[in-house]
Symmetry: C2
Subunit: 442 residues, 2 copies
């Protein structure tokens, strides 16, 4: 980690939104309901693909984007010019500034079905317009963090490195790197993630570097010269055994690591480990990087591998490329001025009305046993429990500690703590039930 | 389409890159190979998941980003401060400007295994640093376009509307909307896509709008008042039949459409169509929007549905969330100054050396029969063929016609033309072989 204040701010975020958020706003402004006090909540009805738990990520990135969620200049002109909104709505948007409350699960925290991951309270108008942006950020980042957590869990004490940028949208790749680090990855290849969030970046050379040179030896010499003996040499461009011998011949016992990026990694790792030891390089490490996911990592547990570079499967959520989080109106002021619960009743997509608060129930040994979600009631800590709702925004003011590089570092520590608290069954990769049940209290 | 010049330019793109691109650059600058003339190519070894064809998207977005691919200010400082690069490399990057040639398949075009989708020629240094960014853009955008094309193909003449923003990273959502439109979608819910690319945006109201009001009737009245009788009313918040009756009672025969977002869509569409007809609303359309993909769309072909709103499965590539495109050095200048083919030989990930050019072979009826890829040779048009490589950049200068809103519109037309040219089997949704074989000529 290289945490420090970054000068980076996101581009305007206000149009990263569905058209209907603004048509609803316009109708509500006209009929007088726009200012009704409202409670929206982000939650998921299920853990996808039989996962045992999910990991929250993206909240900090959303809060950074919230500051740039303004309607002005050419974007506001666009909305009027194309008839998305009328001039009254344009005037409202030009003045828009979120003035409400935002609470939720901190990044790195585990989530389960019906966990109130984020709760947004304010007028209908100001909470409505944030829907799409909030869901985009949380659904993608949490999908990556949830997959990443299974990978770091399967890897045990061996480091996992994020290398999936080329398999994700260019900006999604930055978010993926951030989410992976939150879930325990030790570094990323993505430079923009290093720049924005202070995370450690890593990388040495690709096959093209070997091919650029007239022979492998020239490439290795050049890389050792430029990066030092501690670098990682990629040894599978031509013949792996010949490459390892050459690498040791050139670098000696100080050679940092060799990288395998193709073939049967378990078999090759054993051969390369034997060869390195035989050549007098017991301290040279082996890193593997080809099509890894949590299952492949678990399958390599007995192989002499020192670190894992994970790409495609990480940034695409290892089979779950998006979370199924939704943003639902669960309570709003009625004509009489009282807050009342509301819920959609239709088939299969019903929601539970009422304002939620959550805590993680733990037994006397500190092991999590239940996710307790109170509906219009705050669940009572029985002595060993841990409250889960954190305050992020108060009266529109962003509270300290949830954004920037430091927040990523803290989220990584929080993830480690949360994982240590879950029952051991959380580490199971097979499909099954959530590792702790969610209990709704009202 | 609402094509016009947008004032939008992307944020700096140069760090949307893997760390190792710059460490390779640094070593190559030191050893003198950085200026070797090189040819890199983007291609995929396969079509994932038994798809019959893929659709290229992202090229225009990459070309827009290439103009912002500059190393300066705080980003360049970051690279030096964190030791990613030395000062000589920093000096080189500060002056960086791509000066080479870029050719490839136009957006909207079909691609097959080994199609040279993009070819970048220049010095090793200038082509190397673009790798990750190019792949991020093409892999994501083409994954979405490829899925979208199967959906528009399955939908036939019924419009498909993109509504997946909340299930994709916030910026990926914009690219997904653009890619979907290229592959035949008629509009998107994503406002930023409308702003940047001039594509049509659509949307009316969500369940939260109904819940905001004291009853469904108040919500419908408000929406009809604000949006006019031609709007689409969401009728499944409580009871569908009661909602349809109320909608017709309030709007009369002019009601534009009703939307179904849950339940068994085929069964409900039949019931709602009958009810609308019975109530004297034969012109009121039915749009459906719940968990659709190409298979669900095909399954609804016989149902009285007028348009499809597609979300999650579109923006996640319908099971293929990223393309498997790679960027490989296929030829480079040797020590003697001659360009020679190069290729990685290792297991399973081998590449084919040599500079590629492609054309689509067509029979006398204009039906595509083969993808012809010439290796260090330009395949000869036999009279009915269509050359596939388009020039995008010449000596570093972006050529006209490949970026901005107009390029999206042209790509959409190109997609329609390409699809009309492929054999009918291209429309099969089952897993199988590419609909035309790729023939390598050398």
């Amino acid at each position: 980690m290289n945490a420090q204040t970054s000068t980076w701010t996101p581009a305007p975020t206000s149009l990263l939104t569905d058209h209907y958020e603004l048509t609803m706003l316009q109708a509500a402004l006209r009929d007088g309901t726009a200012e009704r006090r409202s409670v929206f909540e982000v939650f998921s009805r299920r853990l996808s693909a039989g996962r045992r738990y999910g990991i929250v990520a993206g909240t900090g990135r959303f809060l950074e984007g919230l500051r740039e969620f303004r309607f002005e200049g050419p974007r506001l002109d666009f909305l009027q010019r194309t008839g998305v909104i009328d001039s009254a709505t344009a005037n409202w948007l030009a003045e828009f500034e979120f003035t409400g409350q935002i609470d939720g699960y901190a990044e790195g925290e585990a989530w389960f079905p019906n966990s109130p991951v984020l709760r947004v309270e304010g007028s209908f108008a100001e909470a409505c317009v944030l829907e799409t942006y909030i869901l985009s950020v949380l659904n993608y980042d949490s999908a990556v963090a949830s997959a990443a957590s299974r990978m770091t869990s399967a890897a045990g004490s061996r480091p996992c490195l994020e290398m999936g940028s080329r398999r994700a949208h260019d900006q999604a790749a930055v978010a993926a790197a951030r989410a992976a680090v939150i879930a325990g990855f030790t570094g990323t290849s993505n430079l923009e993630a290093g720049y924005r969030y202070g995370v450690t970046t890593i990388g040495t050379a690709a096959h093209s570097f070997t091919l650029l040179h007239d022979d492998e030896e020239s490439a290795f010499r050049s890389q050792l010269q430029a990066q030092g003996l501690g670098t990682t040499l990629l040894v599978d461009t031509y013949d792996v055994e010949a490459a390892v011998r050459k690498a040791v011949e050139l670098a000696g016992a100080e050679l940092g690591a060799v990288r395998l990026d193709s073939g049967d990694l378990a078999v090759q790792a054993v051969r390369v480990r034997e060869l390195l030891d035989e050549l007098g390089n017991p301290d040279t490490k082996i890193t593997v990087t080809s099509d890894l996911d949590e299952y492949a990592i678990a399958g390599l547990a007995a192989a002499p591998v020192d670190s894992y570079g994970v790409g495609t499967r990480l940034v695409t959520g290892s089979g779950v490329p998006t979370s199924s989080m939704v943003y639902k109106l669960v309570a709003r002021e009625n004509a009489a001025g009282d807050l009342e619960p509301v819920a959609k009743k239709a088939t299969g997509k019903g929601s539970i009305g009422g304002r939620k608060t959550a805590l993680r129930r733990r037994n006397a040994q500190g092991v999590a046993t239940h996710e307790i979600v109170g509906i219009d009631t705050v669940p009572v800590d029985d002595g060993d429990d841990r409250p889960l709702m954190q305050p992020f925004v108060r009266d529109g003011e962003l509270l300290d500690g949830w954004t920037g590089p430091d927040a990523v570092l803290r989220a990584q520590r929080r993830h480690a703590g949360t994982m240590a608290e879950l029952p051991r069954a959380a580490a199971r990769l097979s499909e099954g039930e959530p590792v702790i049940p969610t209990v709704l209290e009202s």
